[in-house]
Symmetry: D2
Subunit: 287 residues, 4 copies
Amino acid sequence: MPCSAVLLIDCPDRRGLVARVSSLLYERGANILHADQHRDHELGLFFMRVEWELAPEERGGFDLEAFRSAFAPIAAELGMRWTLTSSAHRPRVALFCSRYLHCVADLLHRWHSGELPCDFSMIISNHHDAEPLAGFYGVPFEYVEATAATREAAETRQLALLEAQRIDLVVLARYMQILSPAFVSRYPAAIINVHHSFLPAFTGARPYHAAHGRGVKLIGATSHYVTAVLDDGPIIEQDVARISHRDQVEDLVARGRDLERIVLARAVRWHLERRILCYGNKTVVFD
Amino acid sequence: MPCSAVLLIDCPDRRGLVARVSSLLYERGANILHADQHRDHELGLFFMRVEWELAPEERGGFDLEAFRSAFAPIAAELGMRWTLTSSAHRPRVALFCSRYLHCVADLLHRWHSGELPCDFSMIISNHHDAEPLAGFYGVPFEYVEATAATREAAETRQLALLEAQRIDLVVLARYMQILSPAFVSRYPAAIINVHHSFLPAFTGARPYHAAHGRGVKLIGATSHYVTAVLDDGPIIEQDVARISHRDQVEDLVARGRDLERIVLARAVRWHLERRILCYGNKTVVFD
Amino acid sequence: MPCSAVLLIDCPDRRGLVARVSSLLYERGANILHADQHRDHELGLFFMRVEWELAPEERGGFDLEAFRSAFAPIAAELGMRWTLTSSAHRPRVALFCSRYLHCVADLLHRWHSGELPCDFSMIISNHHDAEPLAGFYGVPFEYVEATAATREAAETRQLALLEAQRIDLVVLARYMQILSPAFVSRYPAAIINVHHSFLPAFTGARPYHAAHGRGVKLIGATSHYVTAVLDDGPIIEQDVARISHRDQVEDLVARGRDLERIVLARAVRWHLERRILCYGNKTVVFD
Amino acid sequence: MPCSAVLLIDCPDRRGLVARVSSLLYERGANILHADQHRDHELGLFFMRVEWELAPEERGGFDLEAFRSAFAPIAAELGMRWTLTSSAHRPRVALFCSRYLHCVADLLHRWHSGELPCDFSMIISNHHDAEPLAGFYGVPFEYVEATAATREAAETRQLALLEAQRIDLVVLARYMQILSPAFVSRYPAAIINVHHSFLPAFTGARPYHAAHGRGVKLIGATSHYVTAVLDDGPIIEQDVARISHRDQVEDLVARGRDLERIVLARAVRWHLERRILCYGNKTVVFD
């Protein structure tokens, strides 16, 4: 895969935004691979993602830092929030998990197969179950005791580990502890969780039991950014599977595992490919 | 389609239930077309649906009334709730609607094409929009003014019409008024509604607006039996469609119409084919 | 819905295309509603759809013809195939059907509800079944006898009718006759058909029988542009439904009707909204 | 999970079959957990699956061998093909794979988590890529060189390994070699393959390339029993995923991996739970 740059923008909508950005890229000689825009007419907002080739230096590579300097004043003038990243930078990711390992095993296998452009730098767990898997894939494993009672000490330790490893993204792969608002505020739009229901239905604990009790005909799973309010952050991806009266709670749990794996893996990949913009409590996911 | 009988049973589970029922049917010479059972091991309940041929008299037709008499004491002994119906009896159905006609138009076309084994005996509406459609398909149309303020009078009139027409099933095809518990109690497990969300998410009014506000990635529709509690009755069928950040509320409304049509039509057909058993607040739907 | 213009472009890919088009639109004062691009890197092709507001004259409306004149030389220079249309122009559509009316009834109801921005100018059929529906919705109905034996005469008559009515789009809504290559060549990328299988599986006649015979676990439907080769034209939309061993051919037919309705309706709407570009034997569908 | 017995039957349909089987089970004191029947009216065939508890001896366990002896003459009289198995018997499974490991990794993780009631007794591959995974999960790994040129020698060696290990089921988890009819005939309805297309579309090599070339809007995967004809055996499960014009072949490959994992895992689990009956070239899958 050749190296590429991604520019993500959101700002108040006004005329000429695409012309400004694309003209600047053209002048600088960018070879655009993908470009996509979105306008929220209701809120008057504009969103854009552009990805272009970063050819190697010896082939007259695109000068990313020069572009950054040229773009900054334009962005300031137009009130843009923006990020500009190179795929040469591989985000450093920490996985949090507890005893259910299907999501962790799935993410590690995808990563090992080259599906996820990142470094899995650490697995943090309040149980030892994931340790052999971590060892197999060569990811450092850290046991941090965490219960509702010891949350403060646990989070202090976890945050120290994340900082020491300069972690960019935290993935809660069926981590069964609730993170405090203080923890969450340290990684805005950088903690991804998977909840085992079709949110906003069945927030909180034991959603498959709740789904079974309500007699729904489809179960779901949701990946979302974590915010201070439990199960309320911006939704990234959702999927569902059909069930019937024959399915008991344990069948829902088994069916649901496949959904959880997939919606979490998609969310992580899209985040890493810088396809996601948050606004309000929602996401734009450029495909 | 040949004439057939359907026996629906639910009762406390115990050994030998299938043997008892199937032996009795065999002794009487029934030619079984479909049979299905379900056990809820958690609650200790047994459910069964058997369908068999009712050959014409001249070919030595099955004597349904003799079977009914023979079965009654067995059913009493085993604590069964049961219904026995012949497909020769076509249920009489009333459609309730307001201004959105996509579900009504869909049901009428399906009925006209022979997909729904019933008689549509009446359309009741608090608006006149459906009147031409009713006329085209030859279904009597009754305008009954109904608002929150006039609900009591409206329901008195509606109930009188339903009784006069000996209605077996009421279908709320995007009828925008809430029915009182008193009304609902007159037709237990015989009023089917379609709600334009994936219940239990987004109960109540304007679910597409709520879904848009929450930023979900799938929208849904749910058909269910109406009970005294709004949007809380036993779910019959649900389906979902994928949406994206590009979809505004009006796009959700348009996409949702296709879901509403389909989940309502399936529920009505399954009810008419006597595939549904309610227990607690859930349904068994035999396929 | 305010009036808008849509510009559809495809051409060899090169740098600066988006900058050129968006700058020209900005200079002319266009208020862009949606814009989307696609690059096929393998074939070196570029595709673009831009939609912008056409404000009323009194509010300083966009001058579409002036834009057309300004754009033409640019398009020529860049080797673009392009179309520029105003939503004020409502395409004139002819529906072809035979005896199965579910697609026709569905399209007519959607059109009547305002879902389809076109004029249904004519229904042509080799049977009389659709005549009452046509009458109900006020669409002129033309009976044209058509069998394999009389195809040439039938097509001569059909083409005369289409020309007399200045038809822009022909929709084959389960029309059971094959159109000759000569007929098809008169409406390139302007005849939409629905085939009742998941193409390319089960081309030709009786696809539900073939699907049942092969024992597939999902059935499908496909809408596509008609080309000279049967069931081989560019695919616009496909969808599937799950079936089981319990489903007989007639169940597949019934389930399939819902798929056919939906994939055909989507294709027609997307065509009318000018979201589709054909290239090679494939489509780009801008969402 | 308590121990249970499964009786699978297929035979010519006639009256009284359910009564005979269920009465015998009742007399012997079986506590039925699930029972399901299917009739193919077209072919006049009857299919049945019954599962009942095998309580431990000390609680007066069901005598399976006595039931087998009592059932055999009845089955002979009624022309039944039948199998009777206890869940205490764990089938011995061999995995075949080549270089793509997503299905192998998925199956091994599910097995390790207790999702699959079997013993993975051996992994056979014509590459060494799967060796570390096999080691991690403690499954013996056998490298057997296999190319089109060396097929005969390879199959001799493979068959010897399968026999030595008394293998009950062979799972081709993206094994990229074709098995000879002679090999296949040794394991009738006991070799499960996953093909990366929605069969019968795109049989043979490189189906994702073919799908991309045809411009389909959905891709699929199919699990099936292997027969002498390539990609033609009885289909067990299929699933699809939506794609768009933006997806290149490599995107189809990546999306498809999730489908392949799921349809293969379902097929293996259903086979192990003895839910599948083959007849003609089709399957009955009891849910």
